[in-house]
């Protein structure tokens, strides 16, 4: 079954999502930050990465991680889904959506707002895998 790497520092979110994803047969690995990201992704070889934006190390760690992965010829092929409660581009600009996905700004395959309906999340994952 597909392997999913879940990067989020909120244990309630990771426990909850793991429960949902594992119930569908996915193999979930949880990581609380983006430190040593490339090494761990290389070792794990996930089929999908679910990524939060705001992590303890940086308010934009998710964006930075997505760009880092995207620049790697090999790891750049792994689909990335951003799942975040921060849907603000700036203090006057609200509401990310799939329309914001771009190689420069958000080089990922999909964007979802937290909290997400399990059905919506599972459909999105199915589409990406």
């Amino acid at each position: 079954m597909a392997k999913i790497l879940l990067i989020d520092d909120d244990q309630d979110i990771t426990d909850n999502l793991s429960m949902i994803l594992e119930s569908q047969g996915y193999q979930v690995t949880v990581k609380g930050d983006t430190n040593r990201l490339l090494e761990e992704v290389r070792a794990l070889r996930p089929d999908l990465i679910i990524l939060d934006i705001m992590l303890p190390e940086d308010a934009q760690a998710g964006f930075k991680a997505a760009r880092l992965l995207n620049q790697d010829a090999e790891l750049g092929r792994i689909p990335v889904l951003i799942l975040s409660a921060v849907n603000q581009r700036s203090n006057l600009s609200f509401g990310f959506s799939d329309n914001d996905i771009s190689p420069d700004f958000m080089p990922v395959e999909a964007f979802l707002d937290k909290p997400v309906e399990p059905k919506v999340l599972l459909e999105k994952i199915e589409r990406l895998l």
Partner: protein, 467 residues
């Protein structure tokens, strides 16, 4: 993060964008270079016209004054040749944002060439007899504005040298005297008079140095102010960046716990932890609803606080067709109105309606007004939406036939958290932030909002936005 979308393309903002790219002085210098080149083409044309005029037979006999057409031709030719070269140089230099030093040299070179041409023209137009020397002054002003006090002082003296040179050389007999007046009509021979020549040269020195001194003094004050403004701007930009970061953190800190709670609600509701009895399912649904309300309230508070501190200068507006945004919000509102049978009747002219706006803010504006109209309508009621184009404005009217607003509360409804008693009774769950957000968004777009209401008969909100 990449740069935000482009600013409105008003003359001020396109100038501002150039200033940000190149720096104020470099921008102004490159613009002045082009101004000098354009003016020089006009001067070239005038020289050739002057040559033509000098060749025409005199209107009076004997003529009041006579000019040798060859001076005009020589100066016109020199101006045309140098200006052709400058135009090519300016294209390269003004396109390069880092060419400040080269721009300074370029401007100096232009001024020196102009000095030489003006000197020649002064000689051809009778030296001491001509007022053409005044044309040296714009060059001195320009030099004093853009260069250091010491450098502009030296260049002012170079100007004095070029302006005095033909007069001095004529007086000393080094070059033949050129006079434009009929010798018979002249009261005295001014060119050979030491008093007139020396007082003329002293006049030039005094006028040029006074000009340098006055402009230099004003420039020094302006430079100081410019520096102070630059520092203030840098500080404001830093504060704005910090504020954005704090806002993002605050949003995250406030929203994240609710996101986690809501995720658990979904997990329980959808049976990932096993089947739930009906009572438990109802409780879970209530928890979910309260979570949604709280998250909405948090977003509204943060959004409103950001809008309050925003000015029209720091909001990104771009040319936007208002119509598809309004149509989408009407479609969404129809779904919200369906459970209570509230219909939305839209009467819209479907031609594009372009205004300077932020799409996100317009969505929030229409969404709030439409949701309010639905919330305070009676079941099976109707909400009417019209869009009217006026001279330089577009007016959007959203009208309901619901509970209405008491007259004494009409002025307060745009205040945050304010809710009239009948509104609280009719719809207890609203945050009371929607109309405050609406007012701030309208303000940021340079528009106006008016409300007309009759208690028990409904309300009309009219938003006018500049086109």
């Amino acid at each position: 993060m990449p740069a935000s979308p482009s600013l409105i393309d008003t003359p001020y903002q396109s100038w501002h964008a150039r200033v940000c790219e190149k720096g104020l002085r470099t921008t102004e210098m490159s613009e002045r270079s082009w101004w000098f080149i354009r003016t020089r083409w006009n001067a070239t044309a005038l020289c050739f016209l002057g040559a033509l005029w000098a060749l025409l037979p005199p209107v009076r006999d004997p003529p009041l004054f006579m000019v040798d057409y060859r001076f005009f031709l020589i100066v016109g030719g020199l101006l045309a040749a140098s200006n052709h070269l400058y135009t090519r140089l300016a294209r390269n230099l003004t396109a390069d944002p880092h060419a400040k030093t080269r721009l300074c040299r370029f401007l100096s070179l232009q001024v020196l060439t102009d000095y030489a041409n003006l000197s020649l023209l002064t000689y051809g137009l009778g030296g001491i007899e001509t007022p053409i020397l005044i044309l040296f002054l714009p060059h001195i002003i320009l030099l004093t504005l853009f260069f250091s006090r010491a450098y502009s002082f030296i260049m002012t003296w170079v100007g004095i040298f070029f302006a005095s040179l033909p007069i001095l050389l004529e007086y000393l007999g080094v070059i033949p005297v050129v006079s434009i007046f009929d010798a018979a009509r002249k009261m005295i021979d001014v060119t050979s008079s030491l008093v007139i020549t020396s007082s003329h040269i002293l006049g030039i020195i005094a006028a040029f140095l006074i000009c340098w001194y006055l402009v230099g003094g004003i420039t020094a004050i302006l430079l100081l102010r410019e520096r102070q403004l630059e520092l203030a701007l840098q500080q404001l930009q830093r504060l704005d960046r910090e504020k954005s970061q704090i806002t993002l953190r605050a949003t995250h800190e406030l929203k994240a716990p609710f996101a986690a709670i809501k995720s658990y609600v979904y997990t329980l509701r959808d049976g990932y932890c096993g089947p739930l009895p009906d009572k438990a399912r109802q409780v879970i649904d209530r928890i979910g609803e309260r979570c949604d309300l709280l998250m909405e309230k948090i977003s509204d508070i943060i959004h409103l606080s950001n809008l309050r501190t925003a000015t029209t200068a720091n909001v990104t507006l771009s040319e936007t067709d208002l119509l598809p945004i309004l149509v989408k919000e009407i479609d969404d509102a129809r779904l919200i109105g369906q459970p209570r049978g509230v219909r939305i009747l839209a009467s819209l002219d479907m031609a594009p309606c372009l205004i300077q706006a932020s799409k996100e803010h317009l969505s929030t504006l229409f969404s709030n007004l439409l949701r309010n109209a639905i919330s305070y309508s009676h079941p099976e009621g109707a909400v009417e939406v019209t869009l009217e184009r006026r001279d330089h404005q577009v007016a959007i009217q959203i009208r309901d036939h619901g509970i209405g607003i008491p007259a004494e509360h009409l002025e307060k409804i745009f205040e945050e958290h304010f809710r009239s008693n009948n509104a609280v009774r009719f719809n207890p769950n609203s945050s009371g932030m929607g109309l405050a957000l609406v007012r701030e968004i309208v303000r940021l777009h340079g528009g106006q909002i008016r409300v007309k209401s009759e208690l028990g008969a409904g309300s009309r909100f009219i938003v006018t936005l500049p086109v």
